[in-house]
């Protein structure tokens, strides 16, 4: 069905662009949010998992006797029990691999799930889990992808190909790039590691599975960022018809990509509920969260850039070794094994480029989720932004000048990048210049020069990243075959209020507010009276969910388009009521009027009432629409970030004195919500730059298993954030929006690291891998002092 796209009236907007207070907040501030663990059902049992202490071991035997003898224990499930139901293994989202639900034969990483204990209470289940006696025969672990490359120890003997190599992926022109770099006046090459880290939302993952033997329906209360995708996966894996599966994703206490995959705890609980016919709940502990579910990054990137001596880039090459852990469970779109890593040319006009990636199995937890980023965009942005900084230093050029010299120019959009994207819009020069002005760049450089004279270490770091988000166009993007469109359904009630349902799922982004603002803007209704509902697969239209900054680019567009379908129908009703021809009725100032006659106007509220009480003859009564939006392209939000740091060479302490983030995410729906998301994303970027890493020792032991070892910054460490924006709307998006929630987490790590490396430049320090802990910075200072 074709839908007319009318320009959104300006300048005084009705609902969009306003910092409307959030509609979801009244329940949260009263403690009336409903998160997964807040649900209980009569007769509910608890599930607790048994984990492997070894990173690599053969399972000799599992003795359930002692656990089963505990009063209150109902069942103990192992991989063999699941195998009887064909559930010992499930496909990964990637579609190219499978993963164990409960270990069969051997364990492949420390903390891997080995058995599930079902009992009448949380505590009994936990106690009994400790009594499950598992005998292991330890095997040598491989915890380093460079070691697993030699295939001396094959981790996955279940696979046909006896190799630890999972796949090779490449894009671009290898020979041309190699030749261009070789012929360049100047070049840099550096291994840049983006460490293994974890999204760690404050609410852990969990499930309450409720098989109702009377109706034959399986209801899954699930911490899910993608409830429809999860319903389909459950149906495909179990054979349960999809109409018999009801996924409810309640309020989510953060997600950040952690709540996209399907985890063993979900499957074991659901299987137990199906077998036992009673509800079964599992809530992961923080240790389970950090050790088994959805890690992110773990990319080892060799970055090479060539340039002319006056600083024009000639070519970019990035060769990556990716550590995927025990299973290839990265939740990337099927055709994009390395996600959207091809955005690695960033904001710069490279004449040619090439990137390749090899992924390996190791004895580490599986994952590779898009942690607060579009698939692998964070790794790519870090690589290019660090690379440009190294190049600037080699050229002895100011890093802002190098960027301004090489940016894709405003008039080059839509810009076809050498690695296959077509950037939609941007004005990189404007945004960086604004940032330089706002932070007082020249003065800061003067101050830095003076401090260097005195031996003080001050650094200024820039990151001018470009993201590729909003997956995505169905001709390219699918997850397990399901195309990555998204949807909205809007029903306008007779009195002019409405219900809006979408295939997305907020985890704190504020969709109940911003979705209402989009529809209210398009329909001239009151956003306070547009109820937004998500996360219930029985009622919401099918969508792929919320991650990869896709909600506003995809579902936000669907909401605008569904609203416009309603508006077209309303136009006909208006024509009937105004006794005018449909073509003579125009949408002006959020009302329908006979052309040029503002006194002959009707509000959407009046039309809604007529749609139910006085519909136009020969027309369908009611006023509602559904729209499935298949985006024509990705969107390309970008930003210019500047960090200013002081480093204490005696202690290695880094003080982030200032941080300015200028974001361009196209049209802004709610400036307050956007700013809030930027604050949060910067804080997560700060954590990754300075504090967070999931470290495995040489024996394969995970050393960061809770919040005393995997640090989340508190209000004390977290810097004060300065924010501003520029706006280059996306030309292909119905409201010009690009998405923003992940930009600050994508763009900020390089700004922090560039700033610290700039501070350490007088000591000759070239690069330190994140996290830039006090210890690492101190060692770098010490080495320089003793060199």
């Amino acid at each position: 069905m074709s839908t007319t796209i009318e320009p959104t009236p300006t300048p005084e907007r009705h609902a969009m662009g306003k910092s409307m207070k959030r509609k979801e907040d009244p329940r949260f501030i009263r403690g009336h949010g409903r998160y997964l663990d807040d649900f209980t059902l009569p007769g509910m049992l608890w599930m607790s998992l048994v984990h492997s202490p070894y990173p690599h071991a053969r399972i000799v035997k599992i003795d359930k006797t002692a656990a089963l003898a505990v009063p209150g224990v109902v069942a103990v499930l192992t991989g063999e029990d699941l195998a009887a139901h064909n559930l010992a293994w499930i496909p990964t989202f990637h579609g190219y691999d499978k993963q164990m639900v409960l270990a069969v034969g051997k364990v492949l990483y420390q903390y891997q799930e080995v058995a599930g204990v079902i009992a009448s209470s949380r505590e009994i289940a936990q106690d009994a889990a400790e009594l499950v006696d598992v005998e292991y025969e330890p095997l040598d672990p491989v915890v380093n992808p460079f070691q697993s490359r030699d295939d001396k120890i094959i981790l996955r003997d279940d696979r046909e190909n006896k190799t630890n190599h999972i796949y090779h992926w490449e894009v671009g022109k290898r020979e041309e790039t190699d030749a261009a770099i070789a012929a360049s006046d100047v070049s840099i090459k550096e291994r840049i590691v983006f460490q293994r880290c974890h999204p760690a939302p404050l609410e852990p993952c969990g499930i309450l599975a409720d098989m109702n033997p009377a109706t034959g329906r399986l209801t899954l209360y699930l911490t899910s960022q993608a409830p429809h995708a999860h319903r389909t996966v459950v149906s495909l894996v179990t054979g349960i018809p999809e109409d018999k599966i009801h996924v409810i994703s309640p309020d989510l206490g953060g997600g950040f990509g952690n709540k996209v995959p399907v985890y063993p705890g979900y499957v074991v609980s659901a299987a137990a509920s199906v077998v036992l016919g009673v509800p079964v709940k599992w809530i992961e502990t923080r240790t389970e969260n950090l050790t088994t579910t959805g890690f992110a990054r773990d990319y080892h990137m060799d970055v090479e850039i060539g340039a002319s001596k006056d600083g024009r880039v000639t070519a970019l090459k990035v060769a990556t070794v990716a550590d995927h852990g025990a299973f290839d469970a990265a939740a990337d779109p099927t055709k994009y094994p390395a996600g959207l890593f091809g955005i690695v040319t960033g904001s710069y006009d490279f004449p040619t480029a090439f990137t390749e990636l090899d992924a390996y199995f190791t004895n580490k937890a599986p994952g590779g989720v898009a942690y607060r980023c579009s698939f692998r965009v964070t790794e790519a942005s870090f690589a290019i932004e660090r690379g440009m900084e190294l190049l600037a230093r080699k050229l002895n050029m100011d890093p802002s000048e190098l960027r301004l010299l090489n940016f894709v120019k405003k008039e080059q959009f839509p810009y076809p990048s050498p690695l296959g994207f077509v950037y939609d819009s941007g004005d990189y020069h404007m945004t960086l210049r604004k940032a330089l002005d706002m932070i007082g760049y020249e003065d800061l450089r003067k101050e830095q020069a003076e401090k260097r004279e005195r031996g003080e270490l001050m650094g200024i770091g820039i990151s001018t990243f470009t993201e590729a988000v909003g997956a995505g166009p169905s001709k390219h993007f699918d997850i397990m075959g399901i195309k990555m469109f998204d949807s909205a359904e809007i029903r306008v009630h007779p009195t002019g209020s409405a219900i809006l349902r979408a295939g997305t799922k907020s985890q704190g982004q504020g969709h109940e507010t911003t979705w209402a603002q989009i529809a209210a803007e398009e329909l001239g209704l009151d956003p306070q009276n547009i109820m937004v509902e998500e996360g219930d697969t029985d009622t919401a239209p099918y969508g792929l969910g919320t991650y990869a900054s896709r909600s506003t680019p995809v579902a936000g567009a669907a909401i605008a388009m569904a609203s416009r379908k309603i508006r077209e129908k309303a136009r006909k009703i208006a024509a009937h009521l105004l006794e005018a021809a449909v073509d003579d009725v125009e949408w002006t100032n959020y009302k329908f009027q006979v052309k040029g006659q503002p006194d002959h106007a009707l509000t959407m509220q009046e039309i809604a009432f007529a749609a139910y009480t006085n519909p136009a003859p020969d027309s369908e009564p009611g006023l509602e629409a559904t729209y499935y939006y298949d985006p024509p392209n990705l969107t390309f939000p970008y930003g210019a970030y500047i960090a200013v740091v002081d480093v204490d060479r005696e202690t290695g302490a880094v003080k982030v004195r200032r941080f300015l983030a200028i974001d361009d995410c196209g049209t802004v729906i709610n400036p307050m919500v956007v700013e809030g998301q930027i604050h949060g994303g910067l804080t997560e970027g700060f954590a990754i730059a300075f504090m967070q890493e999931i470290v495995y020792d040489e024996s394969g032991n995970n050393l960061n298993t809770n919040f005393t070892e995997y640090l989340v910054p508190t209000s004390l460490e977290t810097p004060h954030w300065e924010t501003s924006s520029t706006c280059t709307p996306s030309p292909h998006h119905p409201i010009g929006a690009k998405g923003v929630g992940e930009s600050p987490n994508v763009g900020s790590p390089a700004a922090f690291v560039n700033a610290v490396m700039d501070a350490l430049a007088p000591l000759g320090v070239q690069h330190i891998d994140m996290p830039l802990t006090r210890e690492k910075v101190w060692h770098a200072c010490r080495q320089a002092a003793t060199a």
Partner: protein
């Protein structure tokens, strides 16, 4: 064990297992699910409640039996007479929450902070909230929310019955 605890001004007599944590007692025995649990190490602070009107305690570090004879205030006790507490209003006005999971603990800690220091500086607020983690907001708007509440309470003191 039998315990008697006053929660949000209401007295409860309950039989609890000695090992039951106060957090789970509030959530599962009393149905007050506004108090959350987010870690295993008393690091995150989403479970903070007010003990005897003067202490912010992580209710995952306390056994329910230790609350016997004491008064507890949870997030559900903050609204008085249907009116939002200035902290609630502040968090809402200043966009001091996103996913909302840390919010109850943040407000309970802030409640005690403002009781002890009615006019805190930004640094004092940041210090006072440093036992409560938030993954969404970056704390900046939380600080503003507490500042707004402090200002509002200075101009119009609020009675809260713990």
């Amino acid at each position: 064990m039998k315990i008697s605890v006053t929660v949000n001004g209401k007295r409860y007599e309950r039989d609890v297992e000695p090992r039951t944590l106060l957090a789970y007692f509030l959530r599962e025995s009393l149905g007050l699910t506004g108090t959350h649990v987010g870690c295993d190490t008393s690091s995150c602070g989403v479970c903070v409640v007010v003990l005897d009107g003067e202490k912010a305690v992580k209710s995952c570090t306390m056994l329910a039996v230790m609350a016997d004879g004491h008064e507890i205030m949870t997030i559900e006790g903050l609204v008085q007479g249907g009116v939002l507490h200035p902290l609630q209003q502040g968090f809402w006005d200043q966009h001091g929450l996103q996913c909302g999971y840390c919010t109850p603990g943040m407000m309970m800690t802030s409640w005690v902070l403002l009781k002890q220091n009615p006019n805190p500086s930004e640094a004092e607020i940041r210090e006072g909230l440093s036992g409560n983690l938030c993954r969404c907001t970056g704390y900046q708007n939380i600080v503003k929310a507490v500042e707004q509440a402090a200002a509002a309470m200075q101009s119009q003191p609020v009675e809260t019955v713990a």
